[in-house]
């Protein structure tokens, strides 16, 4: 009991220094952002760079307004966000499921690992035209590209983690007469959770790429479509805006995962600097 209360002040001390430092970092970040925005507004004009090469901040804002009213920007953004999340969810669910299945069967892992490696190396975005030939100009190709691109980092991370689960921990569970499924649920799953989350984080950034490529190659909706459309018209501001919105979508997905991760993995000791 005495040590329990003794540790409390230490935790508090860490808690008070932490926010102060991170607040300073936050201010510095915001300051840098303001500086970049100002440079973006002033430099292209000052250096006489034409608008179709690098539009200024205000050019982009004006274009944003135009896109909002005449290019159904909201609908296009929503569509891209939807397929990013959908592709991410399906791809990572499949990747995790196969990762766990192969992780439990050494035989099948050996059988399938060369193919997995080959597919992992193959550039997934190159499949986009093929999918369009197969499925036509609809949402299917971009969804498939996204699923495919998301699938592998999750699969590989889970598989790797399943291989390195502490054998002694599994033996302890066996000695306690836990069934194979209970061992998976109570030991292997939670042991691999940090790696699964790391895989999901990587996958979330790739999901945006998958959808964008799908829309670039063969779409008539979404931010990727707006990029190729704007590019065809030499409307650099439109391309800039679409890229920024894609980044925002990726960033939001990534942040949501980081938040989920910190909640789920609260039991890992935090690195003290």
């Amino acid at each position: 009991m005495s040590s329990a209360t003794a540790t409390a002040p230490a935790v508090n001390a860490a808690a008070t220094t932490r926010p102060r430092e991170s607040r300073a970092a936050l201010y510095a970040s915001l300051g840098l952002l303001a500086l970049l925005l100002v440079a973006w507004q002033i430099l292209p004009t000052a250096l006489a760079v034409p608008k179709y090469i690098i539009p200024t901040l205000s050019d982009c804002l004006v274009e944003f307004g135009r896109m909002w009213t005449s290019e159904s920007l909201l609908a296009n953004t929503a569509s891209t966000a939807l397929y990013t999340i959908l592709g991410f969810a399906i791809g990572s669910a499949l990747g995790a499921a196969l990762g766990y299945l192969l992780g439990m069967s050494e035989f099948w892992e050996k059988v399938l690992s060369p193919y997995i490696l080959a597919l992992q190396i193959a550039p997934k975005v190159a499949f986009a035209p093929l999918f369009i030939m197969w499925f036509g100009y609809n949402a299917m190709p971009k969804l498939l590209v996204t699923v495919l691109i998301v699938f592998f980092p999750v699969l590989v991370n889970v598989l790797q983690a399943m291989r390195t689960v502490d054998r002694d921990l599994v033996n302890l569970a066996r000695a306690y007469n836990l069934s194979r499924f209970q061992i998976f649920l109570k030991v292997e799953m939670p042991s691999t959770l940090p790696n699964l989350m790391a895989g999901l984080r990587i996958a979330s950034t790739l999901a945006v790429i998958g959808v964008t490529v799908g829309e670039l190659v063969g779409g008539n909706t979404g931010l990727g479509f707006l990029i190729s459309y704007g590019g065809g018209q030499a409307n650099a501001a439109m391309v800039f805006n679409a890229i920024i919105l894609l980044t925002v979508i990726g960033f939001l997905l990534y942040s949501a995962l980081v938040r989920a991760e910190t909640r789920l993995l609260h039991y890992l000791p935090k690195a003290q600097f």
């Binding site: 502490d166 000695a175 306690y176 007469n177 836990l178 939670p190 000791p269």
Partner: protein, 256 residues
């Protein structure tokens, strides 16, 4: 008889395909309530004895009996703990202690009660909601002991449980383990390479040879205070016993 090895030999096939005899023709008995230590050079098959007692794998020849029943697989009679505490980092301490009870279909209420009782017995009251990373190495080993005792095994197997601890923590933990085990009355097999630890904690010591491990000799420790290693520690006989084991292991000849 709480635990009995009858002519047990264990061979492993190594990755290169060679056959490695870890222990050969090991025979010994451990009486109920007795505290027996196994000492021997590293790699002589001490942990192998433990794994076979726990039923994780079978002897190549011979028989292992727990409470006169041949061990054919993992069973409720044996609880073991290792040098690593093997606490699940994502569970708090009380849930870790409950871990071994979960395959038995006990209702959550009584299970929690049982875990809390062991937690108190192992001097961890107040830490039930802490996570393993918040505890010191010694406290984590006490939690591992509580988890081991919670399943109420007939035999406790301890595989070098103190060897990762600093010298002071080790002495205190040996004392605390000895008292807890004496109070519970459990039959205990302690594997160690620390000769004085074996003398301080045991009723009897089995000395194993180098690999393939065989029982070189048994030494009965005729000292009082088995439940209090710290009291034994100051007795002059401890050094004599340790010296005796030392000679059986022929350590002088190897110290070149």
């Amino acid at each position: 008889m709480a635990l009995e090895f009858r002519g047990v030999t264990k061979q492993f096939t190594t990755n290169s395909g060679a056959v490695l005899t870890a222990i050969r023709d090991v025979t010994f008995k451990v009486n109920e309530g007795e505290f027996v230590s196994v000492v021997g050079p590293s790699g002589c098959g001490k942990s192998t004895l433990l794994s076979m007692t726990a039923g994780l794998y079978q002897p190549t020849t011979g028989e292992v009996l727990v409470s006169d029943q041949p061990v054919t697989g993992p069973n409720d009679h044996v609880g073991f703990m290792l040098q690593k505490d093997l606490l699940l980092p994502w569970r708090n301490i009380v849930k870790n202690i409950e871990f071994g009870l979960e395959a038995r279909g006990a209702a959550p209420g009584p299970r929690r009660e049982r875990a809390m009782a062991e937690l108190k017995r192992c001097h961890l009251a107040g830490f039930e909601n802490h996570y393993p990373y918040q505890l010191s190495g010694g406290m984590r080993q006490r939690a591992a002991l509580a988890r081991t005792l919670a399943i109420d095994p007939e035999i406790i197997l301890l595989d070098e449980p103190f060897s990762a601890l600093d010298a002071q923590t080790k002495l205190l933990l040996q004392d605390s383990f000895a008292a807890t085990i004496a109070e519970s009355g459990k039959t205990t097999l302690l594997i160690t390479h620390d000769l004085s630890e074996a003398v301080l904690m045991s009723d009897r010591i089995l000395v194993l040879s180098e690999r393939p491990g065989t029982v070189l000799t048994e030494i009965k420790v005729e000292l009082p205070h088995r439940a209090h290693p710290l009291k034994r520690r100051v007795m002059p006989e401890v050094g004599e016993y340790a010296g005796q084991i030392f000679r059986h292991l022929k350590l002088e000849e190897k110290a070149i």
